[in-house]
């Protein structure tokens, strides 16, 4: 491996960490909001696929990529609203509902997105960070998704907001002690539905990243479990928006390994490199969970366990 190849590989993994990590960042932030309110939304996998399709379709049909992003956000919010309302019904379990919405979201996206597999939609304009280098490989690797800075801001805002704003405290109260929220006269289901919808909208931004930046087209294999990995990341990040950023970057890097190796001509074991993020998620779950108890930092009203 020459020095140029090594530089390209490192730049590929670093740039890829941001590029591939963007959907993980948004979905994990979205799940963070949802779980802080005491709900689990496994359906964010479906939200990711559906919003990716809607974002692409919106961008293609309107010709404006930002309207596409808006479509993705609205689609994510709509599917999450369904989850929020269903889970508020008596005897409806949020894990089962999440699985159902995972299937429904994927089905709807494949059904409505069938005509979108061929065309090219306007893409998000990249932020160039690689202009210092003369190597085209490095330049290409360091093109940054304009939604990523937004995601970082959002993470900081959420971290601050959960501790300091009325809305943030209400969400945490609904998640930590529903009784306390009820005692103060707030409707716990309403708070949870609102948090679930907000989470779905944030996750919708992740869907927009997939089809409007990288890989930048709509096809039926576009998400393949990334939403679910992001949901698992929240456990690893201990329900802290700031730690979600680190986790998303780590996973972006792992996910970029296969493409980066392929870019410098190592094609062996393509499928094996592609399973690295899933194996890494499992390892992290194994290391960060403790048998028989909730992980530290978990909202007290968690219905999953």
């Amino acid at each position: 491996m020459t020095a140029d190849q090594l530089l390209a590989l490192v730049a590929g993994i670093l740039g890829g960490a941001l590029r591939v990590g963007a959907p993980f960042l948004f979905v994990s932030l979205g799940e963070c909001i949802t779980e802080k309110a005491g709900r689990i939304n496994l359906g964010l996998e479906g939200v990711l696929v559906l919003s990716a399709m809607c974002g692409f379709g919106g961008s293609y049909l309107t010709g404006s990529v930002w309207l596409g992003v808006l479509c993705a956000v609205l689609a994510g919010g709509a599917l999450a609203a369904l989850h929020g309302v269903l889970c508020s019904l008596p005897r409806v379990n949020d894990v089962a509902t999440g699985i159902a919405l995972m299937l429904l979201g994927t089905g709807l996206a494949f059904y409505l997105g069938k005509p979108l597999i061929q065309p090219q939609a306007p893409q998000l304009p990249p932020i160039e960070l690689g202009n210092w280098s003369s190597s085209p490989a490095v330049k290409a690797a360091l093109q940054i998704n304009p939604l990523v800075p937004l995601g970082l801001l959002l993470a900081v805002a959420l971290w601050w907001g959960f501790a300091n704003t009325r809305a943030g405290l209400l969400v945490r109260m609904a998640g930590d002690s529903a009784q306390a929220a009820r005692a103060l006269g707030y409707s716990v289901p309403a708070i949870r539905i609102a948090a679930t919808i907000a989470g779905g909208m944030v996750a919708g931004l992740g869907g927009a990243c997939l089809t409007l930046f990288y890989p930048g087209s709509w096809n039926e294999g576009i998400s393949s479990g990334q939403g679910l990995i992001a949901v698992a990341l929240v456990i690893f990040a201990r329900w802290s928006p700031l730690r979600c950023v680190g986790a998303a970057l780590l996973f972006g890097g792992a996910g970029a390994l296969g493409p980066a190796l392929q870019a410098i001509g190592i094609g062996w074991g393509y499928h094996l490199f592609n399973i690295v993020p899933y194996v890494l998620t499992l390892l992290i779950l194994v290391l960060s969970c403790k048998p028989g108890q909730l992980a530290a930092g978990a909202p007290g009203e968690f219905s999953a366990r």
Binding site: L42, L82, L86, L89, P90, R91, V92, N93, V95, A96, T97, I99, A100, L101, L103, L104, G105, T106, G107, L108, F110, Y111, K114, E220, S224, G225, L228, I229, V231, A232, I235, G269, Y270, H271, L272, N274, I275, Y278, V279, T281, L282, L285, V286, C289, K290, P291, G292, Q293, A304, R305
Partner: protein, 361 residues
């Protein structure tokens, strides 16, 4: 019998409602909903040809549904049946190359290999939960993606038959190892295996001590602990049995339908099995008719595509809507219909006690 009907009433109503909603989607796509319903019915149950197609698809659905239903009775939500199915199929194809058996013993050996691979895979998810408290819903689905990656790597690499040019496949199973059709039909013996597996699961859960203990562990963990049941072992057993069923589904698909392990195996039976199990309320006997119903929807799917030009994902949409409505219908299970009826349509006279207004009024 009456209670069975009562149990089934809500799911049936939910499926009917899902069909109505699906009609809306069909209309949205510019086709006639009535025509779509007719095609769904005819393509699934219209004639002997459709029935054969339906039953052929119902066989793997029964087995993958057991992969959800059996662990669910031990209190686990496992959704990674697709991974167990895929690895089961791969193990079946690989073992067919090395096992010395021929004839029906060989077929049995191939099926056992598939079941063992699937059992090990899902037991891994159960073990992770017991050992580290890892959420088995997430881990089993992650394991499914790992399994599919491994499958593709092995089928396109080390286990590939060099003669499979366009579509990477393993070596085809020898003729004598394959699972044939039930006399005079296209339906293979895998259907019988599926039905037998459901019956066996029902008998085990209902009448055998370990099955009963598993239900106690799932239904009331505290009670299980108090009477000293070996919960960890029972949970692992339930996962292994469920995974074994899904692995067997993969072996059957390879030995009866595809004749070798290739990408056709990744057809979503594992995910459809989740839905079948939930509609059957995790009851192995109910899995049989529900699997036939959804096998029918699957069989009619390609017909919808050909006749009405609907996308091939139409059946996925129908399944998704049905799943959501089935779960939502649970909320109606304990509704006092008489009281609701009275509240809505019986106008209380002046002498009536207005207790329906609630106590605070």
């Amino acid at each position: 019998m009456r209670s069975v009907l009562q149990q089934a009433a809500l799911p049936v109503a939910a499926i009917l409602a899902a069909l109505v909603l699906f009609g809306g989607f069909v209309a949205f796509a510019g086709a006639s909903p009535v025509e779509a319903w007719v095609i769904l019915f005819k393509g699934a149950f219209g004639d002997w040809f459709s029935w054969q197609n339906t039953l052929q698809r119902a066989a793997p659905l029964m087995l993958t549904a057991l992969c959800v239903a059996i662990p669910a009775r031990a209190g686990l939500v496992i959704i990674g049946g697709e991974g167990a199915l895929v690895l089961g199929g791969l193990a079946a194809a690989a073992s067919a190359q090395v096992l010395p058996f021929t004839g029906w013993t060989g077929t049995v050996a191939v099926c056992v290999a598939g079941a063992l691979a699937g059992a090990a895979w899902i037991a891994l998810a159960g073990w992770l939960r017991q050992w580290r408290g890892v959420n088995e819903t997430i881990s089993s689905l992650l394991l499914a993606y790992v399994a599919i990656g491994l499958f593709k790597h092995l089928v396109e690499g080390p286990l590939r038959d060099p003669a499979s040019l366009n579509k990477p496949s393993t070596h085809a199973l020898a003729e004598s190892l394959r699972i044939g059709g039930i006399a005079g039909s296209d339906v293979h013996w895998g259907l019988v295996l599926g039905v037998l597996a459901c019956l066996a699961a029902a008998v085990w859960l209902r009448w055998l001590p370990s099955g009963f203990a598993t239900r106690v562990v799932g239904g009331n963990p505290r009670a299980a602990q108090l009477v000293g049941l070996p919960a960890a072992g029972l949970i692992l057993l339930a996962c292994a049995l469920g995974g074994g069923a899904a692995g067997l589904a993969g072996a059957v698909e390879v030995a009866a339908v595809h004749t070798s392990a290739n990408a056709s195996l990744i057809a979503g039976y594992g995910y459809a099995g989740i839905l079948v199990a939930f509609i059957a309320r995790q009851e192995p006997l109910a899995v049989i008719p529900v699997a036939i119903l959804f096998g029918g929807f699957g069989a009619a799917g390609s017909l919808l595509q050909r006749r009405l030009g609907l996308p091939d994902a139409s059946v996925l949409v129908l399944q998704g809507i049905a799943f959501v409505l089935i779960l939502a219908s649970e909320a109606l299970r304990d509704v006092d219909w008489k009281a609701l009826w009275a509240r809505l349509f019986v106008i209380p006279g002046p002498t009536r006690d207005p207790s329906w207004r609630g106590k605070s009024a």
